[in-house]
Amino acid sequence: MTSTQKQQQQAANNAEGGAKKKKVTAAQLRAQKDIAELSLPPTMRTHFPDPDDILNFELKIEPDEGIYKGGLFKFTFSINNNFPHEPPKVRCTQKIYHPNIDLDGNVCLNILREDWKPVLNLNAVMVGLQFLFLEPNPSDPLNKEAAEDLRLTKESFKRNVRQSMQGGFVKSVQFDRVLK
C-alpha cells in the first residue's frame, strides 16, 4: 500500500467513525418527538442555547395568576441517554423562596422522581412545574421553612414570597430578583 492509499484509507475510517458517533440515540429520537409535540400555554417558553443539542435546554415560566404572578422563573432541563426510562433532570437556576424548590434549585415534583414513567412526556413535566407556582404544596417540602410558613399563615407566606421575588431577604437569606 502506498502512503497515499494509506492516507485515503485513514480518511475513510475517520469519516466512518465520525458517522457512527453522530448516530441518533433513542433518547434523542424520543426527545425530538416530545419537543415537536409541545403545546405550551403563553406563560411558558423554551429556549435552546445550542440548537444542535436538543437534550439540554431552558424553560421560562411566567405565572399569570397566584402568589408567584409577575415573576419569571428559569429552569434548565438535562436529558440523559436513559430517557425516557429516566426522567429529565430539572433545576431552577435562580434562588427562590418556594416550599418545593430548595435554595440550590432542586425541584420536588412527584413526576420528576418516584412517579416518573416513560409514557409521560416533556409537556407533562412542564405543566407540572407551572402547577408548583400556582399551587405550592406544603406537604413533602424541599424548603422546610417556606413550607412551614405556608402551612401556618398563608398571608405571611405571601408577603415573604413577594419580598423574595424583589430580591429581598426572608429570614436572613437573600433571594434572586425574579420580577419581570
Binding site: A26, R30, N82, H85, E114, K117
Partner: protein, 86 residues
C-alpha cells in the same frame, strides 16, 4: 389472446394486530415500526400485549421493567405488568 407468464414477483404485506395509527407509549414510534434500537420491523422486534390492555414494543417495555424505579408496573396504568405467553 394467450398469455404465457414467464416470471412473477410475489409481494406480501403484513402488520401487527394493533390499531395502525397507534404508537408505543415509550418510544412513540408506531407499532408497525421498530423500537429505536432495531432496524427492521417484524418478529425480531415484536409487540408485547399486557394483560392490563396496554401494548409496547417488547424491547421498550423490557428496558423499563429492568429499571428499579419501574417496580414491575405498566408505564401506562401502573398496574403490575403481566402478559400472556403465546
Amino acid at each position: 389472446m394467450k398469455v404465457t407468464i414467464k416470471t412473477y414477483n410475489a409481494v406480501a404485506y403484513w402488520r401487527w394486530d394493533a390499531p395502525s395509527d397507534d404508537v408505543c407509549g415509550i418510544c412513540r414510534v408506531q407499532f408497525d415500526g421498530t423500537c429505536p434500537n432495531c432496524r427492521f420491523p417484524g418478529d425480531d422486534c415484536p409487540i408485547l400485549n399486557g394483560k392490563c390492555g396496554h401494548s409496547f414494543h417488547l424491547h421498550c417495555v423490557n428496558d423499563w421493567i429492568q429499571t428499579e424505579s419501574s417496580r414491575g408496573l405498566c408505564p401506562m396504568c401502573r398496574q403490575k405488568f403481566e402478559f400472556e405467553a403465546e
